[in-house]
């Protein structure tokens, strides 16, 4: 496994034979990585391929079991991120690690090794400003972090790493929380850093368009091994998918010929407050038949969360009503809704839909502890639940060492398959799927979408809430763009083209809610 490109300068960062084992999992298996000065190097792989572990090793958060690291031609061994930083490696994590009540400047200076005891903000300000100007940084240093957009926060993190002397920047899934324009700005900015300032960037992602548009070179990981190293110019999306997944993936889309059944769910002028007490859902109406998918398309934060929770019974409706199978269920509890055949796949997989410290069997029990088929006089049927778990693990292709493994050891994609399998195993008549493929790799995404379509084919009505327009358009029978708590319209699939829906998601072309 030697790299293919010759005649290159010495790598600025070289990892050799990195192996890391976690209990029951070989996370990295003899991985080599060469990053050359002044390039954007993409590390591509599905969830669970070992990308994050590798980056944590490069940043000193995790120690490898075997293998060596060379940075700037010197062999090094990192015991902490501090060691990595002194060698010029900085990391921007997938989740922001900023103090939101502090200013940008305070966040950048916070925790800097040179700041001991007295904090000289004025001196630091000049220094950070100079640095910011050099790198073309446009965020106001005096602004409070909570006032910033997600994209601006990311730049604060990048500047923070540069201020600590980072010459090699590791960005872990940097685009996952950004809007498309912010992604463009980020990528352009990174290219500027690389070209103008000689910074080297390692970009960890599972998004092909990002790799194709921004990187110079790409290393593809699969199941803890490097499968290929390519110059991006020599790669195509198809080739990368093939390497990443190990085979070709085809996305299924809705089969239009399927006849739809009788009306099942009717929502009338639903409204709800968000956690801050503001009216986030402002009168949404729709009706859904058996075997239909309604795709709610929108940018997160436009009332989708509230809509899903109101339908699942986790949030009271401020006004309006929901009828399910002819009965008013507006005030029913979550338990009563589960019992009536309403299933919910929440967006927060590890906080709401699963319990990290619980085993897979116990996580399956989360939707079965009330089921008379699995309890006898208040005692859980452990054997039955284990059999059920085993069935779900194999039917939904969940890769797990053991059914008593804790859920926290599953990768994001496997956890989502477990959750979806659990909810679908109840054969819900109405399924709420909120961001079901968000952050998943290509293969898990295809699997989840196929499972949703199988549920539809089995006669379930599905409410699909997604930010991914392609997903909405390929799975839905009806499309409802949501903006500021209202549906722009409820369009049939034939009327819904990407331009119309995209414009309505962004708040234009709104004609007021229209029933179907």
């Amino acid at each position: 496994m030697k790299r293919g490109s010759a005649a290159a300068p010495e790598p600025i960062l070289a990892a050799r034979g990195i192996t890391k084992r976690f209990p029951g999992v070989l996370a990295l298996d003899d991985v080599d990585l060469d990053v050359y000065p002044g390039e954007i190097h993409a590390v591509l792989g599905q969830n669970g391929a070992g990308k994050t572990t590798l980056m944590n090793i490069l940043f000193g958060l995790v120690q490898p079991d075997e293998g060596t690291l060379e940075v700037f031609g010197r062999r090094v061994r990192f015991r902490s991120p501090h060691d990595a930083l002194t060698h010029g490696i900085g990391m921007v994590h997938q989740t922001r690690r900023l103090v939101s009540a502090h200013t940008v400047l305070e966040n950048i200076v916070l925790g800097h090794p040179r700041v001991r005891g007295v904090l000289n903000l004025r001196a630091a300000r000049t220094e950070v400003e100079t640095l910011g100007n050099r790198y073309g940084f446009t965020v106001d240093l005096g602004a409070r972090v909570w006032q910033l957009s997600e994209g601006e926060r990311q730049w604060v993190e990048i500047l923070k790493a540069l201020y600590r002397g980072a010459r090699i920047l590791i960005l872990d899934e940097p685009t996952s929380a950004l809007t498309p324009p912010e992604v463009k700005t980020l990528l352009a900015g990174l290219q500027g850093l690389v070209r103008g300032q000689g910074i080297t960037v390692i970009l960890v992602t599972h998004k092909l368009p990002i790799v194709m548009s921004a990187s110079h070179r790409v290393t593809v990981l699969r199941s803890g091994k490097v499968v290929v190293r390519l110059k991006t110019a020599e790669a195509t999306e198809e080739i990368l998918v093939h390497h990443m997944v190990g085979r070709d993936v085809a996305f299924r889309s809705t089969d239009r010929a399927l006849p739809t059944g009788r009306p099942l769910l009717e929502a009338e002028q639903l409204a709800a407050f968000n956690d801050k007490g503001l009216l986030a859902l402002r009168g949404v109406s729709f009706s859904l038949r058996e075997g239909e998918v309604l795709g709610v398309a929108g940018v997160t934060g436009n009332g989708q969360e509230e809509l899903a929770q109101v339908l699942a019974g986790l949030r009271p409706a401020a006004s309006g009503s929901v009828r399910f199978d002819g009965q008013d269920i507006t005030r029913l509890s979550p338990l009563q809704r589960w019992q009536r055949g309403i299933g919910y796949v929440p967006a927060e997989r590890s906080e709401v839909a699963s319990i990290a410290a619980f085993s897979l069997v116990e996580n399956i029990t989360l939707n079965y502890h009330f089921d008379p088929a699995f309890t006898r006089r208040g005692v859980l049927d452990d054997a039955g639940l284990e059999r059920l778990t085993q069935r779900i693990l194999s039917a939904y292709n969940v890769k797990a060492p053991h059914q008593h493994t804790r859920a926290q050891h599953l990768s994001g994609g496997n956890l989502q398959k477990l959750i979806l399998g659990r909810v679908l195993s109840r054969r819900p008549r109405f399924l709420i799927a909120h961001l079901p493929t968000h952050g998943l790799d290509v293969e898990a995404t295809a699997f989840v979408r196929a499972s949703l379509l199988d549920a539809r084919a089995a006669g379930a009505a599905v409410l699909l809430v997604s930010e991914d327009l392609d997903e909405i358009l390929s799975l839905s029978d009806w499309v409802a763009p949501i903006y500021e708590g209202r549906f722009g319209a409820v369009l049939s699939r034939e009327e819904a083209d990407a331009e119309t829906v995209g414009a309505m998601m962004a708040g234009s072309l709104l004609k007021g809610a229209r029933g179907q």
Binding site: P23, R167, S333, W338, I355, N367, H369
Partner: protein, 379 residues
């Protein structure tokens, strides 16, 4: 930590065999005893004489052993009063208030019925009534905190602590200075229970021992095997996930606090109405309330296991009595018994680290040994 060519690190243990739990507990006890040697040495007492006094009284003296048993039963109830809500992630810190409430309610039964009725009714029925009253009162006080927590998100730690204080003074009102429960002699304690209402003894041990041990045996499978136990654990791990799974937070908080409060109420019944030689609410009832706090530490050390709590409770009960005895016997300074228990708590808490992490020796690869410069190369 670097030691020559080797490196010493703390690593999380991948698996946690029960053997390790026992081993770390034993190590913690030995360490605490070793540390407390300093206490005895500072009082110029022979360590072995001191430990012999502590242990022989607590576990090998017929009088002391009985006292240990009585105190263990009390502490077991207190431990479960804390442990049940703890499994749901709730902290029943102020459980002494529920203990007092249990004691008061127990004594309220003969008081309300009056002497003629007490003589007329079968004593067994009255004893059952007293226990039910004690458990109900404890549950009511606990349940109040549970409702406030579930309905209005009021912190249960604050509520139970404040209730604690209120009920402490309610007891004082009832038994002192002409209060309704005051004894005929007016010595700042309650009336004594009539002899038929003394709890029946089995081999000198009140029957409440059976209840406490029954709870020890039954609580673990309750959490591990039943739907209710599952719901309690799920809520304890993640209230949001539990709610998603159809668990009703209000009902769950109420159930665990009712159950915990009932255990605390039984603890009150046990000490004031079932321990031979007491059979009254004594003037220093606050001492028993404070003793109840050891239940918190026992539940935490047992990591939520009801059966695992039994040896820990017996140890705490025995050491608290034995050290107090040794203090009087050997004329040790005041507070030696508290210091000993304090040291034991500290080593137990510290042993949690050893339980969950292990020390690992690693040989540092030779190429990594030479010191690497911390400076960046200048380009």
């Amino acid at each position: 930590m670097k030691l020559g060519r080797y490196e010493l690190t703390l690593e999380p243990r991948p698996a946690l065999p029960p053997f390790h739990a026992v081993l770390t507990a034993v190590v913690a006890i030995l360490l605490a005893l070793a540390f407390s040697s300093v206490l005895f040495l500072s009082a110029e007492t022979n360590i072995f004489t001191a430990y012999r006094a502590v242990f022989s009284y607590a576990f090998f003296n017929s009088h002391g052993l009985l006292a240990t048993v009585h105190r263990s039963i009390f502490l077991l109830f207190c431990t479960y009063a804390f442990l049940v809500p703890l499994r749901a992630g709730l902290w029943n810190i102020g459980l002494p208030g529920q203990v007092y409430a249990g004691g008061l309610a127990g004594f309220a039964v003969p008081f309300v019925l009056g002497a003629p009725q007490v003589r007329a009714l079968p004593p067994d029925l009255l004893i059952v009534l007293m226990m039910v009253a004690a458990a109900t009162a404890g549950a009511a006080v606990g349940g109040f905190a549970g409702v406030l927590r579930a309905r209005f998100q009021v912190n249960e730690i604050l509520v139970t602590m404040m209730l604690n204080s209120i009920i402490f003074w309610l007891v004082a009102y009832m038994i002192k200075e002409g209060g309704p429960f005051m004894s005929a002699t007016g010595e700042g304690e309650s009336f004594g229970l009539p002899v038929p209402l003394h709890a029946p003894l089995l081999l000198g041990v009140p029957f409440t021992a059976l209840l406490a041990l029954g709870a020890a045996v039954l609580l673990d499978p309750l959490f591990a095997k039943t739907a209710l136990g599952y719901r309690i654990r799920a809520f304890g791990e993640s209230p949001a996930a539990a709610r998603y799974g159809g668990i009703i937070p209000m009902a769950l908080s109420l159930v665990v606090f009712l159950l915990g409060g009932a255990f605390a109420g039984l603890a009150g019944y046990h000490y004031f109405a079932a321990v031979p030689g007491v059979y009254k609410i004594p003037g220093n009832y606050g001492y028993y309330g404070d003793l109840g706090f050891y239940g918190i530490i026992c539940a935490l050390i047992a990591r939520g296991s009801s059966l695992g709590a039994v040896p820990i409770v017996v140890l705490f009960a025995g050491l608290s009595l034995g050290a107090r005895f040794a203090q009087g016997e050997l004329r040790l300074p005041f507070g030696v018994d508290y210091a000993l228990l304090g040291l034991l708590m500290i080593t137990f808490v510290a042993s949690h680290v050893l339980y969950r992490f292990r020390f690992a020796w690693r040989r540092i690869p030779p190429e990594a040994l030479p010191h690497v410069s911390a400076e960046l190369p200048q380009e």
